[in-house]
Symmetry: C2
Subunit: 419 residues, 2 copies
Amino acid sequence: MSELEGNCLVCQSGGPTAVINASLAGVIEEALNHECIEEIYGGLNGVIGVLSEDMIDLAAESQQTIRLLKSTPGSALGTCRYAFKKEEDLERALEVFKAHDIRYFFYIGDSESMAMLDQLDALAKAQDYEMRIIGIPKTINNDISGTDHCPGYGSVIKHVATTVREMACDNESIGEGDYVSILEVQGRNTGWIAAGAALAKRRDHPHDPPHLILIPEVAFDAEKFVADVQKVLAREKYCLIVTGEGLVDADGNYVALTSTSTDAFGHVQLGGTGEFLRNLVETRLGVSARSSKLGVSARAAAHGASQTDTDEAYLAGSAAVTQAVENGKSGKMITLQRAEADSYKCETGWVDLSDVPTGSKQLPADWINDDGISVNFPFVKYATPLIQGEVTLTWENGLPNFAKFKGASIDKVLPAYEI
Amino acid sequence: MSELEGNCLVCQSGGPTAVINASLAGVIEEALNHECIEEIYGGLNGVIGVLSEDMIDLAAESQQTIRLLKSTPGSALGTCRYAFKKEEDLERALEVFKAHDIRYFFYIGDSESMAMLDQLDALAKAQDYEMRIIGIPKTINNDISGTDHCPGYGSVIKHVATTVREMACDNESIGEGDYVSILEVQGRNTGWIAAGAALAKRRDHPHDPPHLILIPEVAFDAEKFVADVQKVLAREKYCLIVTGEGLVDADGNYVALTSTSTDAFGHVQLGGTGEFLRNLVETRLGVSARSSKLGVSARAAAHGASQTDTDEAYLAGSAAVTQAVENGKSGKMITLQRAEADSYKCETGWVDLSDVPTGSKQLPADWINDDGISVNFPFVKYATPLIQGEVTLTWENGLPNFAKFKGASIDKVLPAYEI
């Protein structure tokens, strides 16, 4: 395969993760290895930066910045939840690619981003503009189909499970009467993150916290919940509950909404499930309860990130470049796959962008126990390898140091475009 | 001074911290150094364990357990918020001491505990029972008078400031329009913890997050708050707010209450301040906002603890034993003091228990800027040394390993006592 010469553009999209910048670092460092890639641009705020020609020169960033990037949370290039809104957006993106000789486009995003990339790839082909478009999956929610797991997931569940172990030590100390402690974690439509809290249980200690795991895949029933809490309190001196933010009842209605505001994709802002449960426990059982809500702090918790997840996020980024440059692939999403081996080993693969459904991949029903409040060994076996290893941050004066791009802007050459 | 021979008893009380067990380890390891101390007992659940003779043999615990203890959150002996409720409680405690030849009593607790210890010490003296009673301060709230700072505080603010740095990376990524992010932290009556978030600002970067710090020492005014948020949003693309849980208005009323339940000391359960502010931002400014509430997870965050704080907590525990055994002190609380030196150095001292007020030490007014939403350099200079150094936990299979006492019970010798 003859190498395609030109520039490379990389963007980040959707909700940040603790390791989305590791994927970016993987793209940058691998791109530097290939002479056919001339310039390495970063688009600011996802596809918005493409449409508005807001790009920076990533090769001009220091090596120290790229090293720090691997353990910096958030999306260093900025992100967006913007999806193409009109037909002209696609045309405009391609116009920008042509104007800047972008031949390689790497987009780190979730399943909704993959659908957009697929459209772009089709348009480039229709216009006979030779380029390579590769999607790199990221999401704390682990809900993208086609990949064994998603970069970002291992780190968030390592942080959540660590937090549960720590809260368990604290909650167990409280010596006076019954005590219920609730930890609300993210996860809009799926229970992947809440389920990950199950890793906090020690092997062969099924009664270890979390005592109840509540997920959107199991319809919430207040009567059963109250009975489940009572059962735990009869056995233990406290009950530690981990809940996803998006619990729904049997009719599919969210049990707790704190706001009517919606984001750019029309998603309702969820939250308040922990407080809802706390109130239920106090009013129905007369038992003292407290709730914590990690919210955005969990997906940003670089100090609690998984080394395995960080390495795999980096690998997904570098594999995208390799597939595009060496194998001439386009219209694909990089996937993480378990190698056939006695112990866990992760390899990258790819799927066609058109084969990535935009919906959320649910937690498999056969990993949820019949009690509806716990997950089984196949889930634990699946998730445990993803949380191995601790990332070492760069500490300075007692706090972590994170990368910030200098951000040397690329000159705009096209007329302004209204987004 | 002739040495007093007998047994030693140590208890933990009040809300746990990330390092309260380091103080316990300090007591145990120092007690082992003194031959005059025969047995080392741990009382379960604070003074409740004293009254009910629920004690375990701490010398029988493995060295590995004591090593892990130094980085285990929660109160390994269990805790209580129980204060002596009747005159007989004092008499009973002394009866238990006599029955078990307890000559050294170490109590790790907050200012309310110190008042109780003072009463006990007076009664022992009145009954001519020779013993040494020493209080060891602990609280994440840093509100005990007489000590420069309290073990537990450095770790919680290191975790909070780390979380702010991480959330800032995440929040800064969000590229679409204004965005307000709220982090609610503990601190019932004082702003010490919320103020500690200010350490997240880099030197000479006053506009770094947190952009607003809201504390109980400054009366909350909704109009000013809305204007402050608007001012930040006009300057930055997001506004990161850290708030204490106990904000009060000009009339001294809490602005947000989630529950009418009270604990054993009659404290109202606070919380929901973050959600209250989120709602205010969305309804008044029409700006998208999210809130996170670290709650108990912050005080339990051993994985984010300060090495300095851990060392000082240990030191406070060992100093209590040294003062009691070598200097024959009783009726004192161990204090942490800054040594006269060019760089930060911490020494222990003591104050009379009777000189420790039970009220909360407020954040000094002259450390709060006139804007009411930030703290000044003297605070930063005070707090920065307390967050230095990172604790290395013992990780196993991707998660931290924490100490759990075997708990060999001491035989009860007295008739049961109704608490």
